[in-house]
Amino acid sequence: DLKNTKLIFDLVLALSEAVPGSIRTAEHFVGFLRRFLEYLKARLRVQHVVQESAPQFLKDIFDKVCIDRKPLRFCAERLQSLLRTLEIADIADFSAVTLISNFATLVSTYSQGFTIIIEPFEDRTPTIANPVLHFSCMDPSIAIKPVFQRFQSVVITSGTLSPLDIYPRILDFRPVTMASFTMTLARTCLCPLIVGRGNDQVALSSKFETREDFAVIRNYGNLLLEMSAIVPDGIVAFFTSYIYMENIVASWYEQGILENIQRNKLIFIETQDAAETSMALEKYQEACENGRGAILLSVARGKVSEGIDFVHHFGRAVIMFGVPYVYTQSRILKARLDYLRDQFQIRENDFLTFDAMRHAAQCVGRAIRGKTDYGLMIFADKRYARADKRGKLPRWIQEHINDGSLNLTVDEAVQLSKHFLRQMAQPFRQEDQLGLSLLTLEQLESEEMLQKISQMAHQT
């Protein structure tokens, strides 16, 4: 995507300096790149994990191979002009070199906000040498800066932007106005339930300590089984990670739960292969359409949870198994958390919870895409009941969680769900919505409606 590159280089050219003499000629430049490449190769031959900031990295380069910061900055631009001069038709052949030159430019341009992590091997396979150099951006404000600079008005809007105040801090901008709107509903079309216990009173959670617990897995299975019996058409279930989903599916298979579920609906499972998942998705939709009903098991932060809508009968219930915390052992994540703590005084726990709840909200929000749509939202983890987590859900979901549905057993959740579904199955005509969620032109232009809108906008 060339536009992106252009935005970054606009920054560089803003310095309005000429290309340094050391890389002006083509042979010099190529020799320069070679030196840089050898340096990188040498850095990758480490026995232990190394983490350093960009300035440290640059200092080390200068010490080892006498490469200065300034020519590094112009690497990317110089390479582009060289490729243009040579009239290279297929730029894809040179993607690796382009990558190196982009890296060189970035590491020398930004003194803050990036981190370099060199891992000699993958954690799961310590005996196989597989060194990787990660250059990651920890500061999201750098990424969005070009947008703010280029456009006069920027509107950031989403259904899952809670809590609202964290965004200006992380993205480093001062909002002219911040508003949070709830949904105007003619009928309560969502039913969020927090299921914290199984019927045997065992607490349900995807916490690491209880993940392998037989009773927890069985209770999760029971929840899905009961739901599959009462919810019409399609159900989508999200797990916190792919490995977790695999393990649970295997356990359910052994316990015979999957077979019982299959009596009610067909089962489709997201895999790590995008094409296969697309096929499963299409079949899932087909099954929802023709009356068989289907269940889709997928993963939070996966391709399905971020791109696919499950409108109407494609998603009448969404079940979130556990709290989707990101994999916390990743070094990159740790670096980012440290950065956030140091720069923005955001506590590690707060950020992780915020991130987890954002993804949970995004997952359950897949089911409701319109004002006549309706769906059950089942949060299957006892930790959702705690105020610090519940409070991070978007307001339009929080509004409909009543205190009686904070720690339900599976049976209780089933009862409430049945009641809700029957209510929703009543006819809902256009007349019922007029004035509330559907406005005619006259109603829209009426004084009281305009007043109402400005009132709602000021309730943040």
């Binding site: 982009n102 096929m279 791109g307």
Partner: protein, 550 residues
């Protein structure tokens, strides 16, 4: 009497038929009964004519055997030999049981089909009764056009039954049970077998190849359950397993399903993925868990389970929407055995457009497309029965006049003072009102009272049947024109005679009947007209033919 060449298989003495003593003979091709002392057979039926046999229940005193023929007639034999009656009857029954199936000809199927059609469709049955039983047209003519379906390969219009779908969990019902001594018992029913065959055509193929030549059915299924094919986590498929091919076929099927891609662009994940600028050098895009070298056995079996679930669900879905088991449908576009049940690719671009369109548009926000129509409300429908009234010079009143007159009347009504001296007495008033209400003396039927109130329902029913039967005959008659083959010439003449016969035998008696009931309305006028038109047409055609010949 029986010809000498006929082989007699069984002779039963003391068998009564219609209260007459006699002997029952079962021959090679027919069953016959002759009375005591006589030489001839009074009753003789070919086995091919017999539809079925029935026996009296065991508790009854009379031991009887009944033969039901295809034509519906039945003959009853009473076995009267005190000591051996039951044995005789059973012997006769056994022999018949063996012989009858041999003689079931294909023609019986037709008869059964005809029977079934008549039973299922009461209108057809009535038509049959009206036309064939009363000898207006012959049975062959009646069935000529209707039985086309039996001989075609198209069972669809006559197949009124819906197919039973496949449960998603049919394999679950075969959960093994330990039978006490280290073995496992699997319960297979015919339903489950059918489900397996419909969902996995590869297994069906293996079955047809191997049973009964190589393996018995039991062996086949035992091997099936033992094979890793059945167990979801199949990773090691031994090559001696006959089902390893099925497994490979399934893999291939799944791959082809995946590579075919999806029609709905909103579900196509490949096009929804973020296009990153630079992913990285040397880092494979797919996560390392797809490389089998590093995966542990457990992990690969887990992902095998998952893959199998997707495949199984896709196959069940496809099997359910496949239209019946038509063996020569392999190349059909609408069904395929790898799990795809979609229409052919010809429809791809419009579907994408439709999906995108659906996603963008909101029903509620569309303009009201059709202008609001006003329902037609006719108050005086008589006026539409007459033609336009010629414009006469009329006095037109202006609307102002009308308004004035209305105001005048209103005023008068407001100022009305009843002068009670000039009022009728109440009795006179009520009798006048009674005379003027509907049904009163002064109220002659002004409009037509509707016919179906005047004519009794049985007459209506008969008339309906007459119409249906006449319609059938007239349809046959009119379909002969233009008459360009000798067959049609014959047919048209025949139909004319049929029509005349129908008129004679059915219409006239009906007309006399209604005349007798003093129904003044002309119920059969239209029918008569139709017949007359037909006769007229026939006459014209005949004269033309005469002229051409001369």
């Amino acid at each position: 009497m029986a010809s000498l060449s006929e082989e007699v298989l069984l002779v039963v003495k003391k068998v009564r038929q219609r209260k007459q003593d006699g002997t029952l003979y079962l021959m090679a091709e027919r069953i016959a009964w002759g009375p005591e002392g006589k030489d001839r057979f009074t009753v003789s039926h070919l086995y091919s004519d017999i539809r079925c046999q029935k026996i009296s229940p065991d508790g009854k005193a009379k031991i009887q055997l009944q033969l039901v023929l295809h034509t519906g007639e039945s003959t009853t034999f009473h076995f009267a030999n005190e000591s051996t009656a039951l044995k005789d009857r059973d012997a006769a029954k056994e022999l018949l049981q063996q012989l009858l199936p041999k003689f079931k000809k294909k023609a019986n199927k037709e008869l059964e089909e005809k029977n079934r059609m008549l039973q299922e469709d009461p209108v057809l049955f009535q038509l049959y009764k009206d036309l064939v039983v009363s000898q207006v047209i012959s049975a062959e003519e009646f069935w000529a056009n209707r039985l086309g379906g039996v001989n075609n390969a198209e069972p669809a219009p006559y197949n009124n039954k819906q197919e039973v779908g496949i449960s998603g969990a049919f394999l679950a019902d075969i959960r093994p049970q330990t039978d006490g001594c280290n073995g496992l018992r699997y319960n297979l029913t015919a339903d489950i077998i059918e489900s397996i065959f419909r969902t996995y055509p590869a297994v069906k193929q293996k079955y047809s190849e191997n049973v009964p030549h190589n393996l018995t059915e039991k062996e086949f299924w035992t091997r099936f359950f033992q094979s890793h094919y059945f167990h979801r986590d199949r990773i090691n498929t031994g090559s001696q397993d006959i089902f390893s091919e099925c497994a490979k076929q399934d893999e291939k099927g799944l791959k082809s399903l995946v590579t075919q891609g999806v029609k709905n662009p909103l579900v196509d994940l490949l096009s929804l993925e973020d296009k990153t600028l630079d992913e990285g050098y040397g880092i494979s895009k797919t996560l390392p868990s797809t490389s089998n070298a590093i995966k542990s056995v457990k992990e690969s079996s887990n992902s095998a389970i998952i893959k199998r679930f997707n495949h199984h669900s896709a196959m069940v879905l496809a099997a359910g929407s496949r239209k019946g088991d038509v063996p020569n449908d392999q190349a059909s576009e609408t069904s395929s055995t790898d799990g795809n049940s979609r229409d052919s690719d010809l429809f791809q671009p419009p579907l994408k457009k439709v999906k995108l369109q659906e996603a963008i548009e909101y029903e509620d926000l569309q303009r009201e497309n059709a202008p609001k129509t006003v329902a037609l409300n006719l108050k005086k429908s008589d006026r539409y029965a007459h033609g336009p009234i010629p414009l006469q010079s009329q006095q037109y009143t202006t609307s102002q006049d009308i308004i004035n007159s209305v105001n005048c009347i209103r005023q008068e009504m407001a100022n009305y003072k009843p002068s009670l001296t000039r009022v009728l007495s109440s009795t006179t008033a009520t009798s006048a009102v009674a005379a003027l209400s509907p049904g009163g003396v002064l109220m002659q039927p002004v409009g037509q009272q509707s016919i179906n109130q005047m004519v009794p329902t049985d007459i209506q029913g008969e008339l309906k049947h007459l119409y249906i039967a006449a319609g059938e005959l007239l349809r046959h008659f009119w379909s002969c024109f233009p008459v360009n083959t000798p067959f049609l010439e014959e047919k048209v003449t025949k139909m004319k005679t049929n029509l005349e016969r129908f008129q004679m035998t059915k219409l006239r008696p009906f007309q006399e009947k209604i005349q007798r009931q003093y129904l003044s309305t002309n119920l059969t006028g239209h029918l008569e007209d139709m017949f007359q038109t037909a006769y007229g047409k026939f006459h014209i055609w005949q004269t033309r033919r005469m002229m051409r010949k001369t």
